[in-house]
């Protein structure tokens, strides 16, 4: 049994690990911790291996776990930030403004400024290339909500994307 589980783990790692790390990076804007989130997801899903009625859906379970763990990470970061008397940088420094040299960076930054669910929706739809139904399953919401979040996100991003053309 353990050997079969290990084989499945290895197969899922080979197939999806890198893409899930990238997904977690988009969802959390945190490259340093994205791998840890995805590893947590694998360990978590591995714990339910035997309960999986349809092992072929392991990828979807992993993706949902990554979305949920990313949310937890963001919440924790917000709590920490709330109590962190960091320097009060109320405007961008000249250096950081100078570094934002391309529209592409502006789009990525705007993506990070979106409300969490809107960011999740467009990332799952346009990075992970999921259908609306798959996105809804990963986010734990209805297809209608996915449509709404995606539409609002695109309304916010469209001016930057159109400028790019």
């Amino acid at each position: 049994m353990i050997s079969a589980e290990e084989d499945l783990l290895t197969a899922l790692y080979t197939s999806h690990y890198r893409e899930l790390v990238r997904l977690a990076t988009f969802l959390t804007s945190d490259r340093d911790n994205a791998e840890e989130i995805v590893q947590d997801a694998y360990v978590k899903v591995h714990g339910s291996w035997r309960g999986l009625r349809e092992p072929e859906k392991a990828e979807a379970y992993l993706r949902t776990a990554v979305v949920n763990l990313s949310r937890s990470r963001l919440r924790r970061r917000q709590v920490v930030a709330k109590h962190q008397p960091e320097p009060m940088l109320d405007v961008d420094s000249a250096e950081s403004q100078a570094m934002r040299t391309t529209r592409r960076d502006a789009v990525l930054e705007a993506l990070q400024q979106l409300p969490r669910r809107q960011r999740e929706a467009v990332t799952l739809r346009y990075y992970a290339d999921l259908t609306e139904a798959q996105t809804a399953a990963a986010m734990g919401c209805s297809v209608g909500a996915v449509k709404s979040h995606t539409s609002r996100a695109m309304t916010a991003l469209r001016p930057l994307l159109e400028d790019e053309r």
Binding site: L9, Q39, M88, L89
Partner: protein
Amino acid sequence: MSAEDRLREILSSEASTVLPAGDGLTRIQERVARRRRLRMVLLPAGALATAGVVAAVLALGGGVGSQSLEQTPATQGPTPSPTTASGYDGPAIWPFGSQADVDSWNRDPGSRGWAANAREVAQRFATDFLQLPGVTAVGDGREVSLRLGTVKLGTARLERLEADGPWTVVAVDGGDLIVTTPAAGARISSPTSVEGRIDGLHENVRLQLVTTAGKQLTQASAPAGQEAPWQGTLTWTDSTWSTGGIVGTTRSDRDGSLTRLVAVPVTRSSDAPFAPDSFVGLVDGKVLLLDGTNGRRLSQLTYPPAGTTDTSATWSNDRLAWVRSAQTGCDNTLFLKAGEGIETIVPGRGFIIQSPQLSPSGAVLAWVQQPCEGGVPVVRVRAEGAPIRDVVIESNLATWVRDVRNDGALLVVTKDPERTDPAILRVVPGDATRLSSGRVMTGAPGCEWRAAAFLGSSVLGGETCGDRSRAIPLSDDGSRRGADTFLPAPQYFGTITVRESVVLVQIFSSDVDSRGIVGRYSRGVVSPFDPLPSCSAETGAGCLLAPDW
């Protein structure tokens, strides 16, 4: 290309720059294996008891087999876990500061199952608790090395507060970065002096006080040097925590990367007097927080971007308001920090803003605002939950708000720039909308008011007569209630600020203006703080201006 396709292209391009480290599978496999073993020791109590009986029978019979040995430890690693009935009984930092924390974990580890593994705890201590990205925990058991690349930052010491219970960090040994005071487990109160030694040259030690719950209460910087003891002061007001740690770090002069990490556990002294003894002031165009007991620098509060400078600040009840001015052009912004948020009260461009003042509760903010192109200034008063009240100044007078009460009453100094008449001090009622409705404080002939503050229900004004100055207690009705002794000539009051009836002043000398004396004041006597070490009497660089508490 549609906007959606363009977004796909950008996300795909950005994703290609994210490359996992390559050891992910190994790490997952290790954690899965640990989890399997952990499950075996986290069986329900009845099953554990049964296992204990079986183990005892086997031990008595001398037949301890390899299988029973594999099931015993809760964690792996070269250091055996304590096997005593009770666990570690000393002070701890994180994630468990008390037996109650451990009891909670025992009932439901929840998402903190990792606490059964010492290395995991050390890793999360660095990256989650201390927010030090890139630090790696190496090793296991009671001593785990914390590294940043090839640099060893320190050694985390871990213990279990309960035999076979979860691990907790009890200290970090920082190598040649040593904290000598306070001692591990000391009961501390605000302000606390933190002292230690370090071997490096010209290193600054950044100090933080962090609670077991993960809240950073305060931070400070301590200049340090080879073979010279360093010292910093931590000041805080939160009285809701019980355990935590004082954390010290140093960084490389070359690239700012971490070089050392030390941590000692501390507990809050519950019988300590509440001591919010701190104040703010301006140094080189930045707002600093300073120790109210000795005037030493505690921390920097604002970081003006290049081309701007902070020109005035006021602080009450943990709220800070300050004016940021562009070094060229008429571009001034008034900010208010209350809680976690920073609010722009008056956006830049168009107005000169000066002398902001917060009431003792911090709920009322008053300032003087004047159009850049000229015109009559107005005093604006912003109280929580109420529209802004404008106090109209009937003629074009130079105007400064010196203080504001919780009821919105103002203490205002005005001077006619076109005439040589002395400056006038008024108390303006909290509901007044015209400056002229304020009551003029009685000045002595030939004297003028420069600084002033509310002192309880009365006023303390700084009066200057020629080259001599003194403080005058005044009633709200404007009458003088006596006079303090004169300051040595030619000194005068630049600032008077009062908190809970304790007076802090800044006194300048009109012949050497750049370096003011800051200190506590009582009835004509100033108890000066030492000037900031960086203050230049000649140029004023590094000197403290406009203290406020």
